[in-house]
Symmetry: C2
Subunit: 399 residues, 2 copies
Amino acid sequence: MTESAQPPAEATAHVAPGFPVVGVVGGGQLARMMQQPAIALGIGLRVLATSMQDSAAQAVRDVRIGSHEDLDALRAFAAGCDVVTFDHEHVPTAYLEVLEAEGVAVRPGSKALVHAQDKIVMREALTAAGVPCPLWAEVSSSAEVATFAETAGWPVVLKTSRGGYDGRGVWVLAGLEAAHDLMASTTLADGARWLAEERVDFVQELSAQVARSPHGQAVAYPVVRTVQTDGICTEVVAPAPGLTDDEVVAAQHAALTVAGALDVVGMLAVEMFETRDGRVLVNELAMRPHNSGHWSIDGAVTSQFENHLRAVLDLPLGDPSATAPHAVMVNVLGGDKGDMYHAYLHCMARDPGLKVHMYGKDVRPGRKLGHVTVVGDDLHDLLSRAHHAADYLTGTIDE
Amino acid sequence: MTESAQPPAEATAHVAPGFPVVGVVGGGQLARMMQQPAIALGIGLRVLATSMQDSAAQAVRDVRIGSHEDLDALRAFAAGCDVVTFDHEHVPTAYLEVLEAEGVAVRPGSKALVHAQDKIVMREALTAAGVPCPLWAEVSSSAEVATFAETAGWPVVLKTSRGGYDGRGVWVLAGLEAAHDLMASTTLADGARWLAEERVDFVQELSAQVARSPHGQAVAYPVVRTVQTDGICTEVVAPAPGLTDDEVVAAQHAALTVAGALDVVGMLAVEMFETRDGRVLVNELAMRPHNSGHWSIDGAVTSQFENHLRAVLDLPLGDPSATAPHAVMVNVLGGDKGDMYHAYLHCMARDPGLKVHMYGKDVRPGRKLGHVTVVGDDLHDLLSRAHHAADYLTGTIDE
């Protein structure tokens, strides 16, 4: 560990007698947004960040600087935390196992988290649990991709089993030649393998989120529609429009089944495809608060961030119900406007019901810098308001 | 200023380009609860606290240690803040004037804030503005109290014009002898005078809150009913039950008039009495977020804490509307239970819709340690749930 991982004594979390400290590995916006319910619940939040400028490091007092790929930094970070949880899935599984063996309460645990880290391990477990998935196969050559395509058809979706996120590590291949070229020119990361999947002809993409506690309590959030642009989630509508009751139950049931089968603790997001014939197939898993649940801060009785804290602390879970008929969340991605603060004047004056959430990040094109949420009765109006605000903040429009 | 008022460089607020830093003088729960919307808005919050264990000092990164009665500490604190605002009214007026003369954006300004600091200055200004008040007079002897009682009747409410809060500095006097004994045995603080007021025979106590910006925009929150116990606000119901439309308009109009007449910037709480003949009379003012508005965190589109930040930054104000028919807030006061965290298990399991807000304070009998809020359709049910949770947290009941 680096010397700077030792903070001054006054920087350590202070809480009232009996209240716990939760350590969050990673200093991104998910850790940042955990601080809001941590303040309400009187819980101390400690963040392992790579710099004091990290999104979450700006928002908490107890910041430790270190790498999630440094076992000693992880050990020093965990000392004094009642529970350790995550802002991302990138801590090496072997290090989590060491921390657990040394008595650290890691939640979700390494045995669960590996399913969010390795997509082949995830596919194997979901298939064993009877959870509907697209056709899939582990492949090691373009010839095996072609064999898979004999059943699944072209195009084939090829993924690295580890290390991808926000659209990275995912390719859509038209045929054998494309598979050959990609696999010949790509070096897999340590421990990663190739996963071939059927390209699903979906009606819409869904996300079903559940929170689950160590003692097994679980609650299911409304199933939402997500829109991905270039692999990044850009819009969420809660609840997902047009789903039949059977589809909602199937999606929630699948998410609860995954949470139980994999012994997930904390928030679980199950990203799904709704197919043209009314089935829901699992696409990806995330075992932490997820972009598809940001609407819950302003639109649910208990936000995903509060329920994540309650779950990892084995507290009874809060009501995940929506507080309004519809909620719309739109991500604010970096554009050409370097200073977004002055755009507040226009956005807030135009829409007093707009809820703005910025992450304290410097602007880079395409980077997730924040999100906006609106809730209400008229979905068409909400979509228009949320997109206008996000577009104005980024500079895509100027009126 | 003390040496410890100079924080390490890494403790200073970091914000994205163009985003402001708001300095809050005072490290209590009001500053703590400003941090939640500050995180959402991407605003840096700096807190002037008396110790790193202060309620707000636990929740923000940029903590400065110093006294609000130390001009040099205030100057050092203000340097680098875009705006300075307050958790309490106790900064000496003269120091605020010095800061303003030196170019600090103090909001609310000293000319407004003095009305929340000195009750005689407040009564003079409100009377001049035509805002209904109880009968009042400045008095300097028990004989003058008796003269006042010839018109107002006994009992008389006697207050120190400065320095009182949460029931301190307020006495109800049955007659001349009690006035004599009290005034003979009480030394007034520097600058404080005696204020005699009519004891109002009220139906209920109300609070009307407004937010107001430097450029004059103002929004009015629903008028709420407050219940005081031993001078401390213990229960708030939003909106106040049983008010006629005329009474609501009168209360909101009075609050907006006060805000405009006194040039208030930020949140203003106007505590009022509803009389048996349907009038509303102003009791006290607070120019900051106020206990009577804590319900707005969970029950309004824009909380009082967010609108306070938006107002002092001269941003357009957020919608103050309630999101449900009723909200009930009950304070959690210190009792005989030293560790409140373990009470979470029972409270949260019993009521998944309960919103808990703890302030990170050590338990002392009667101290405000937190509050709980519930929102919904059935006021009777909400009152029962909120009081049960608060009583269980404090240890007054054990099931």
